[in-house]
Symmetry: C2
Subunit: 723 residues, 2 copies
Amino acid sequence: MSSFEPCPCVRRVFFLLVALFGVTQLPAVPASSATTVMPLPAVQQFTTGRLAVTPAFSVELQGSADARLRAGLARLLRQVEARTGLTFAHTPAGGFALKSDAAHASLVIDCAAPGSAVPVLGEDESYTLEVTSTEAVLKAPTILGALHGFATLQQLLQADASGWFFPAVRINDQPRFPWRGLMIDVARHWQPLEVIQRNLDGMALVKLNVLHLHLTEDQGFRIESKTFPRLHELGSDGHYFTQDQIRGLIAYAAERGIRVVPEFDIPGHATSWVTAFPELASAPGPYAIERKWGVFDPVLDPTNPRVYALLDGFLGEMAALFPDAYIHIGGDENNGVQWSANAKIQAFIREHNLKDNAGLHAYFNGKVHAILAQHGKKLIGWDEILHPDLTSGSVVHSWRGPTGLAEATRLGFATILSNGYYIDLNYPTADHYLNDPVPADTRLSPEQQKLVLGGEATIWAEWVTPETIDSRIWPRTAAIAERLWSARDVRDVPDMYRRLALVSRRLEEAGLQHASYLDPALRRLAGDQASPAELAALRAFVDLIEPVKHYQRGNQQPEATQFTPLTGLVDCARADSAPGREFAAQVAMLAGPLSPDPQAANSVLQALVAWKFTTVQLAALAARSPRLQEAQPLLTSLATASAVGQEALSVLLSRQAPVAGWLQTQLSRLDEAAKPHAAAELPVIAPLRLLAAAAAEQDKRRTLSPDAWKQHLLDLAPPPVTP
Amino acid sequence: MSSFEPCPCVRRVFFLLVALFGVTQLPAVPASSATTVMPLPAVQQFTTGRLAVTPAFSVELQGSADARLRAGLARLLRQVEARTGLTFAHTPAGGFALKSDAAHASLVIDCAAPGSAVPVLGEDESYTLEVTSTEAVLKAPTILGALHGFATLQQLLQADASGWFFPAVRINDQPRFPWRGLMIDVARHWQPLEVIQRNLDGMALVKLNVLHLHLTEDQGFRIESKTFPRLHELGSDGHYFTQDQIRGLIAYAAERGIRVVPEFDIPGHATSWVTAFPELASAPGPYAIERKWGVFDPVLDPTNPRVYALLDGFLGEMAALFPDAYIHIGGDENNGVQWSANAKIQAFIREHNLKDNAGLHAYFNGKVHAILAQHGKKLIGWDEILHPDLTSGSVVHSWRGPTGLAEATRLGFATILSNGYYIDLNYPTADHYLNDPVPADTRLSPEQQKLVLGGEATIWAEWVTPETIDSRIWPRTAAIAERLWSARDVRDVPDMYRRLALVSRRLEEAGLQHASYLDPALRRLAGDQASPAELAALRAFVDLIEPVKHYQRGNQQPEATQFTPLTGLVDCARADSAPGREFAAQVAMLAGPLSPDPQAANSVLQALVAWKFTTVQLAALAARSPRLQEAQPLLTSLATASAVGQEALSVLLSRQAPVAGWLQTQLSRLDEAAKPHAAAELPVIAPLRLLAAAAAEQDKRRTLSPDAWKQHLLDLAPPPVTP
C-alpha cells in the first residue's frame, strides 16, 4: 500500500485556495492563540496568573503511583530541567525528591489507577489539569491520562523576562478517536532501534498511541523468528529486530502509553518470505530479496497447506511476542500475476467456487483469520481484504481513497484511516490536517461513524533512511495527531502552523532529528570547499524547494534501489516549505480581492531579490561541485521565478495593464520553472502564477465580486499540474 | 586524576606566542599542503594524476580477506557512496560486488594476514598505498594496516568540477607509537553505548587504537558484575554496561582495529564500590553514590583480606570479559584521610614496615598486581602507583606533569602519557598538538624513550553529557592522534588546523555530533521567542566564547552536581574558538614586527564591529530570556573588547602615540573583560592586549629587533592570568 493514491491533486488545489484566499482573512487572533499545546485539548480555559517554575518546584504523587508513572514524571522533570537549566531537588538515591505534603507541592498528580500494564484499545485516556498561581493539579483515571497530562505540561511550559512558568489554565481533555497511530516501514529501508525509540518519544509528546511496525516486505524481513529462522536470516541482510529488542520496544512504548501493532504483509509483498521458503510461492523460485521499488509478483500460494502450517507457527510465535490484541496482515497489492499464471491455483479457485483471485484472497484471509483467532488475536488488513467473505470482527485499514472507509463501515467492519495521512508523499501539513476521518459533511450513518476507530500516519520507506526519516515524519505528523485527538471543528490552519512551530521545538528537545539532520547533510552535499556564505545560500535554497509529491520521485529516479544513497539535494529538501508558505501568504495579500498591500509588496520583492542572490551565490558552487550539478536546473527555475515575480510585481504596482500576451508569456516561463528536477520542485510557482494573473487583470479587480475575482484568477492561472 | 595539572599557563603563553609571532611567518605553502590526511602519513609523495571515482569503481581483495576486512571495506564504500551520491555495484545478496580480476579493479587490497582477531599491543599496523590514474593498491601485512589504509582513502577522497577522485600518491605509513588512546569517563556522567560506538568510529578515522573505558568512580559503577551484582545494582542508578554490551563493544572496536582497556579505579575514587560493600572501606559506612565533583575520602581498606577476595573475584570476572592484556586499576588521588584516621590501618603500616600511606598503597598495588597476574593480565595505573616497590612489568599512566613520565621510565617502567592531553580542560588544539611524549629536546635516554608506549587523550566527565561529549572530544583529539602517529617533526600548526577542519567533516560524516549538537542546543537556550536573526547572533556569540580552562568551571559553578543540567551557555561554547584564532592571527599581522597590513586592519575592524552588532542584537534577547541572563556580563565584556579594539586600531593606524596612560587604561578595561562569567570567557582578550601595546609603543617597532619587539609587547601586555 505504498504505491497508489488517487487524486491528491484535488487536495493540493484545495490547499492552495486555503493558503491564498482563505486563512489569511481569518481573524488575526484566533480563539486558541494563547495556547502552545498540540493537539488542542477538548476543553481548555486560560485563567489569570501563572505558576512559577523555580528550583523549588516540587511534586506530590497521590493515588496510584507505580513505576511507570514515576518514570513518566522523571522524563518530564528532566526535560524541564534541560530546557530551563534549573535543577530540582533529588534524593541521595538519585531520583527526583517527592513531597508527601500536598499543601506545599507545586504539582499534584492524582492518578486513580495504573490501568493496563500494556495499553489496550479503548482504555480511558482522559485527564484534567488545573494550573493556578499556587499549584498545578493533574488528575486522571488511569496512567494513560496522566502521561498525556505530562505531555501537555511539557508544552505549556514557557518563559518571559520574569522567568519560567506554566500559565494558569483549566483543561479537561480526552481524545476524539481511540486509535491514533504512526506506521513505520522498517522493511524497505531498515530503521534501527534508536530511530523507533526517538519516534516513540515524539509520538508520546503529541499523544499518539499506536506504533504500527511494518515488519515484512519484498525488500526485507525485519523480525527474528525462532521457529523459522530462515525468514530473518535470509530475508534481512542481518538487519532485523531480535525478539529481545521487540520486548524492550514494547516496554518502552508501554511506558509512554503506546501500543505496538505488528504487520506481517501476506500474501503479496512477500518476496522476503519466499526468499527463505521458495516452495511456498505461487510460482517456482528461487527468489532473492527485492532491491527495487514497486509492486512485485511473488505471492504465497493459498492452495498450499504448508503455507498455513508456516503461518500458524510464525503467527503463533508473534502472537506470543506482541501483547496487543491486533495483528496486521497487510493483504495489499497482490497483483495476481502468479495466481493467474498458475493452473493449479486457478483450478483450486474453480473447485472451491471462489470465483476469481479476489475470492481466493478472501479464502486465504479466512484461513489466516482462523489462525489468528486461535492465537487470541484479531485481524487487520489494508483495503484489499474487504470482500463479502471477510470474517466479521476484522478491521479494515483504509489507504486507497475515501470510498474504502465508507464501504468497510457499510459492511459493518471497524476501520482505521490512512488515506490522506501518507506522510511519505510529501504533501503539506495542512492537507493532512484538514483530512477528517469523519468530516462535518460525512455521509456515514451514526452506526458507521462509530466503526471509525481513528487513523494512522504512514511513513513508507522507499526514500527514507535513519538519517532523514525524522524529517519525513515530523513535525507534520503532529498535525495528524491533532486531527485524531481534537474536536472536529478544530481546523484553524494558521493557528495549527503557529503551534506546529512550537511543538517542533519540543520534538527536537525530545531527541528527534528532523531539524538537526539538515546542516550536516548540507555540509556533506556542499563539499569541503564551500564557503560559509555558500553554505548559507544552499540552506536558503533547500528551504525553498520541496521533494516532489505523490509517487513522482520514482519517476524522477527510476534507477534507484535499496542501495542508492539518499544523501542528495532532494533528501535535504523537506515537505511544506515554510518560506514557500510565507511567500504564498504575502502574495495572497497582493493578489486577493483587496487592493495591494504595500508591506506585502515589499516582502514579496525582498523574497524575489533574495532568490536571485541565492542563485548567483550557488551557481559558482554548483559549477565546481559534482554533487550540486543536479541543482543547476532548479537554480535556473528559481532565477526565472524571481524574474517573472519582479516583472509581475512591477506591473501590479504600476496599476497599468501589461502589453497583450504578457500573461501567457509569464505563465509559459512559470510552466518551465515548475518542472521538477532532481526529484525536487519549487512550491513558489503556484502563487507566482496567481500574482501574474492578478497583475495582468487588475482592471477587473474592482469590477468583480471577491469570489468571482478569486475564481477568475484560478481560471486564468491554475496551479501547475502535479500528479 | 581529573582534578590537578600544574602550570598549564606555561603552555597557554607558549601557544599565544606561536599564534601571534610564530606560525604566521612560516612559508605560506608548507610541504604537506596538498594532503587532506590526518594523521600525516610517515611517507607521502603526491605524484601527478588522479584516480576517478565513478559508479564503475571496483574493488578486488587479494591475500587474506576475512569478514573483518570485508566489513571494513563495506564501511569505507558506504561512506564514499553517502558522500559522493554514487551507487557502486552490489550483489543480489546485498554486499558490494567484488572483482576477481586485478587488472580491472580500481582498488586492489592485498592483506597478507588477518592478524590477531582482537588487536594486541605492538601488532604491525603498517600499510602502503599507491594511487595512480588507473588504480589504487593498498598493501598491508595485517588487517590493522588495511583498516588504516581505508581511513586514509576516506580522507584522500575529494572532488572538483570534473568529479570525485583520489589524488595520485605513494604512501608508506606506520605509527610512531603503538599505544594511541582515548579515555572516556563513563562514570561521572553516564555515556551510553551509542556514544561509545560513534566515538570508536571517530577513533578509527584518525587511527587511534586504544579505547580506555574509565568504568568505576565515586559517582558511578558502570559495569555489570555477575559475581557481585550489588556493585552495579547499588552503584549505577541503573546506568551500566551489561556484559553482553561489553562483548559487543569489544567486537565493534576490534572490527575497527581498536583495543578496549578497562579501568576499575582502586583503592581511592571508590565511593561506588563501598556503596555496595561499606565494610570494605577504611572508615565505617554507610555510603551513597557521590553526586558532587572533587576528591573524596572513601578508599578501600588494604588491610582487610575481604578486599582482596572481592578484587580477585571481580577482576577475575573482568579478566575473562576483556580480552586485552592490560587492566587499568586507577590508583590516583587517594587523599589518605581515611587511612590516616584509622588506627588499625596505621598499625598495619607499622607492623609491615610500610613506612607511610604511600607504602601501604604500594603494598596494595603489589597484591593487586599478583591477582591480575594470576588472571593473565598486566597492571596499569596512574602516576601515583609509582613507588620503589611497584612490581616490574607494571605500566605507569602519566597525568600529573612531565616529570612523571621521566621518573617512571628512569625506574624502568613502561609509560603512557596523558599529561597535556586532558581534553576536558578546554585548552586549544595546538597546546595538545605540540605536547610531544618524547620531544626533540628530551632528556630521556634512548632506553627510557623505548619505554614510552604512547599516549591517551582523556575526557573526564564532570561537565559532559551524551549531548555534548563529542564536542569536547572532537575535532581536537584528531590532532593528538597525529602527535602519536606521525613523525616528531610534524609540528606545522596552521597546516594542522587546515587539515583539522577537513577531518572534522569526515568525523561528522562518520556520525559524530560535535558540530550538529550545537544548533538544537542554541534553539533550546534561546527559547521559542528568539527570531532567526537573534539565533544567528547567539550562534556568532557562542562561536566567540570558550569554556573556562583547567578546573575553573568547578570554581565558577561550585554548586553543580551530577544532576545539574548541562544545557547552558558554556555547554554551547567550545574550546579553541575558530573566530578567536582567526582574530589572533589577524592581530599578529598588525602587531608583529612588520608594519601594519591594511588587509589585516580591515579584517580586525570588521570583526570588532561585528562583535558590537552581536552584543546589540543579543541584549534584547538576553533581557527577556531567563536562560540568557547569565550571558549579560559576557556581552558587556565583548562590547568592551570591541571598543578597546577599535580605539587601539585607530591609534595604530594614526601612527601617532596615544596620550599618556592610555595603554594602562585599555589594559585595565581588558582585565575586566577577561574575567570569566557563566564559566565562559573571551579568547580575543589576549590578542587585544597585544594590539593595544603595539599601538601604544609603535614608535619602538622600528628601533627594536623583531625578537626584542615581540618580547617588549609581551612584557607590556602579558596574556590575562588564567590558572
